[in-house]
Amino acid sequence: MGIFDIYLLEALINGVLLGGVLALLSLGLNLIFGVIDVVWICYAELIMLGMYSMYFLYSVYHLPLVAAAVVCIIGVAVLGVLLHVLVIAPLLGAAPINQLLATGGVLFFLQSAATVMFGVEFKNLGMRLPVLKLSGMFISYSRLLAFAFALVGMVLVYLFLTRTYTGTAIRAISQDRQIMVLMGVDSRRIYLITSALGGGLAGLAACLLVLQYDIHPFVGLSFGPITFLICVLGSLGNFGGGFVAAFVFAEIISLGGLYSDLEWGYVLAFAFFIVMMFIRPQGLMTRRS
């Protein structure tokens, strides 16, 4: 039983580390939904493009890692703005389902564009980061790094949202959209800034994920659905709820992966989600259609 304890602890820790990144992802999605009232179904695909850009910047063009990361983050932020301007803004008055479908179309488009441009072979940054050994447990350095930067990212966003006028306006607009004009807030500008922020967070997530995972056009499918489940369980638009739900899901995936294949971890997480809906429908969720 002693060996099991170590593996269990390792899985638990890895769960926390994974949770950090998932929390970052759900923050981005929640921001967009809370402010603009639209779900970017293609969010994971933005991250996928970010991962490809890291690959090209770092492995092909040999930019230093930090520079590549900065370019990546800015690049995906720009993508976010483009997405808003080209797809979301024309549909702001349309039925929510149409908005969803439009971003679904973008998902298709991005996956296929990646397939056409980069091919389906798996790519990798080729970085070999050390693995730390802590009292019998193996913790990958890249995971620790990802966790640390995810936390930093979230803290920065928190500070932005609470300490700046624009950030406060972003929080306000999600509570009462109509009266924002009365305070001199240009909603369209806020939407653009939020889209850039959401894109930037996706870019950051890409930098963190690329340290640990291979890159291919459909990599978004590995964490996209889970992010949606996290946000739904934590209640769309609820940053705190998403944060907590992220760690819960991460632990389930990690522990599930301990006893079996990684995929079963996802299945377990989904089953957990279904069960949670029965047990605590009021709990983390508010009912919004």
């Binding site: 939904f33 779900v39 179904i41 080209l86 797809v87 024309p90 549909l91 349309a94 039925a95 929510p96 389902i97 149409n98 969803l100 479908l101 439009a102 679904g104 179309g105 973008v106 998902l107 298709f108 488009f109 991005l110 996956q111 296929s112 564009a113 990646a114 397939t115 056409v116 389906v120 056009p217 499918l221 996209g224 659905p225 889970i226 949606f228 489940l229 946000c231 739904v232 769309l236 079996s260 294949d261 995929e263 079963w264 996802y266 299945v267 989904f270 989600f273 279904i274 809906m277 029965f278 429908p281 969720m285 009912r287 919004r288 259609s289």
Partner: protein
Amino acid sequence: MTRVLPWLAGAALIGLPFVYNSPYPLHILVIILIWSFAYTSWSVMGRFGLTSLGHGGFMGVGAYVTALAWNKAGLSPWLGIPLALVCAAALAVVVAYPCFRFKITGHYFALVTLALSGIVLQVITATRDHTGGSLGYTPERYQGGSSLWALQFGSKTTWYLIALGVWGLGLWIWYRVDRSMLRYALEAIAEDEDAAAAAGVHVTAEKLKITVLSAVMTALAGSLYCQYQLFISPDTVSGISVSLQMVFAAVVGGIYVAFGPTVGAVITIVLAEVLRISFGTRAVGYDNLVYGILLVIFIVFLPKGILGSLLDLRRVRRPAAPAAVPGT
């Protein structure tokens, strides 16, 4: 004339393979018919605002359960398909019931269904020892080539007629729903759930009914596809791409119209074939690329789809009572 037209068209469709027997066009027609049926199945619930982005999951269940039952248990598809349908229905209930009971609608519901199809894909991949995972799965060929018991037929004509029949079944179901009390209940629910509940509509039950119907029909499409192609893989019959493709085709064709999904199927499949022929293997991904752009463009400019918009145009041409326009 318009009353006779559908019968004439029907007769023409049935008689077609006997007159024109070229295998490749027939193959395309079979594929179009099967997918039309799948897309129609989606729109049976999609038209009521219950947008599922997870129907790929049901199709996958239909295909894989049928194939696995045949290969592992020697179960004839005549038993395997009902089994698959039951599984799909069960899955639909397990996922949809809590959603409806706890008022998870709109965005939330779409996301949950999206996750569902992703999870089904994961299950198929995870059980790779049994299902072949992402490499795909082949139901064993019956030694004679054609067999009613094995539901495998060598003749494209036979498959064409079967597919035509199932497609007709789909349309029939669509019309039956259209004329039923269920439709009015669901439209009331779509407009204002609480008001409908106050009026005595059993919201959860009605929504569940249509969802199970839609899921079962989609699973049937999956089973049929499996029997026809005799090869299935997670990305062709399940997963997010398939789910989105269903929505795309139905939207492009027209959700609120019976033949809309069929029009969508014709467009998407012909498009895919054209691209495949023009670009060969380089076409991998191009068709989805075009779908993606078209989907966005359609949503923005033609949300009622091609058929829907055309029908709208026809309606506008007929003289209508002048709408009262309050003084501006």
